[in-house]
Amino acid sequence: MPDPVRVGIAGLAVTSALGRGRQAQLAAVLGGACAFTPISRFDTTGRRVTVAATLPDVASLPVELAVAIADACTDAGLGRPQRASTPLLLAVHGGPEIPRLATGLAEAAGLYQVLRIYTAACVSGSSAVSAAASLISRGELDRAVVAGGYLVEPDQYALFDAGKALAADGVARPFSRDRRGLLLGDAVVAVVLEAEHRSADRGHQPLARLAGWGRSGDAHHPCQPAPDGRGLARAIEAALLRGGVEADQLGYINANATGTAFSDAAEAAALALALGDAAGRVPVSSTKSVHGHALEASGLLELVITVLSLAEGKLGVNAGYLGPDPDCPLDLVLDGPRQLAAPYALSLNSAFGGANTALLLAAA
């Protein structure tokens, strides 16, 4: 079997409630500047919680996705001929209209075709990235555009409210004592993954390298994670093994932690299981504490923030923290940005159904 092809992040475009573009994301997560405000986008009468991270003056999801895909291609330096041989992988909430949306997005951007549409809830974006990376690493693709989006809207908001999943105190507090739930947030993101030798051929410098990835299931419950973290631990181990990276080489973990009591504890257990003693030494934050939970797009937004953190050499804050939870014995980034001290980072995501993903990034 030939050696796997190295996969780079050749370009990206990002919009969230933190603003448009890279600098807006980076400035907010490094400063712990949370984007949660009372919702004015739709009527929240009768809801338990009325707070989310929404970007004012946002266009429709299809328009924002089209802009993000075009901008990511430009950022990656892809001309028309390269786009014409590049497929699209899309991560969005499912529905009968979605295949037509995906086809339209690919056509509008001059991309080759829609390769796959992921509707796997909160691991949609990271599953799409993993699949694209897998195909590139095995030489089946030169590059792919992976795009995803979620803009806070009344139906999903009402469902999360009905499920009592939203933080009743209006603050997302991942890994903290007295955490009370998650808060939703906007994100529209596109990334271009490319074989590093193809980037080199055209003189393009990638932003980071996707060194590994892993997916797993918990086999535990329809909507609760395995408390011992065994599923997520296997995804982390697969990503590290694929990248040939040891736990002590990790300089940062952008955790999935949503601010939900049992889920955050299960993730801490997974880190202990996968990383051993290093789990207490690697700096961890969940940037959902700043930008909210972007559901199908969360894996892409957090991947991008992790890429930007590696490039900047600084780690974002785990905001909303009230104090330690003995079930989450982690080295959290709390009071301000911290310097990156080791070259690799993990971005973790988990979803209903016990689905888990781990993406391993290396600075370019």
Binding site: T86, P87, P96, V114, R116, Y118, G163, H221, P222, C223
Partner: protein
């Protein structure tokens, strides 16, 4: 290089397959915690039929299936639940809490995974054209990548809002026996070294 290659280098083989046609098999049995719509019971019914016919009963033993993933491919997904949520929210009504976790297709896959000890990746895709072909291709990616040795692919559709037209197909996919050793990503041979 061919752009957008949608099939893996080695095509997975079908170890077993089963169907559920509501017109012939009747409504899918209800599943505890899943309400209102026939979509999730349909997914469970066809998966249970496929797994039971192949494996007899769950789990047997569970450790054998730590690397069995599940892929759900559907064109439209759970139309009935989505429409109920839309209408209720539009009318200013309240949603039942059970609708929260059945609003995404992962949940019924988590139910199946827990019952059968299937601890491989969980993936849901919206099929643009051919759900079986796209699902097989996705399963092939998971298997060639080394995150699964076996994938239960489920294709399910609610047709025109008529539960009698519900139809589903489940395929238990694996590698051809002769290619098993060479098809796994070098990852796991490295682990053994």
């Amino acid at each position: 290089m061919t752009a957008g290659l949608s099939t893996p280098l080695i095509e997975p083989v079908i170890r077993h397959e089963a169907w559920w046609w509501a017109a012939e098999d009747g409504p899918a049995p209800t599943v505890p915690g899943f309400v209102l719509s026939s979509f999730n019971p349909l997914v469970a019914a066809v998966a249970e039929r496929c797994l039971t016919e192949h494996y007899a009963k769950p789990p047997q033993p569970p450790s054998d299936r730590e690397r069995t993933g599940i892929v759900l491919a559907t064109r439209a997904g759970d139309r009935v639940s989505a429409e109920h949520v839309r209408q209720t929210v539009e009318a200013g009504g309240r949603l039942g809490p059970l609708l929260f976790f059945q609003s995404v297709p992962n949940s019924i896959l988590g139910y199946l995974a827990a019952r059968w000890g299937l601890a491989g990746p969980i993936v849901c895709i919206s099929a643009a054209a051919d759900p079986v072909a796209e699902g097989v291709a996705e399963a092939g990616v998971l298997m060639a990548d080394g995150d699964a040795d076996e994938v239960l692919l489920i294709v399910a559709e609610q047709v025109a809002g008529d539960p009698q037209l519900d139809c589903a197909h489940a395929l238990l996919l694996g590698w051809p026996a002769e290619s098993l050793a060479s098809s796994r990503f070098a990852l796991f041979s490295k682990e053994m070294a």
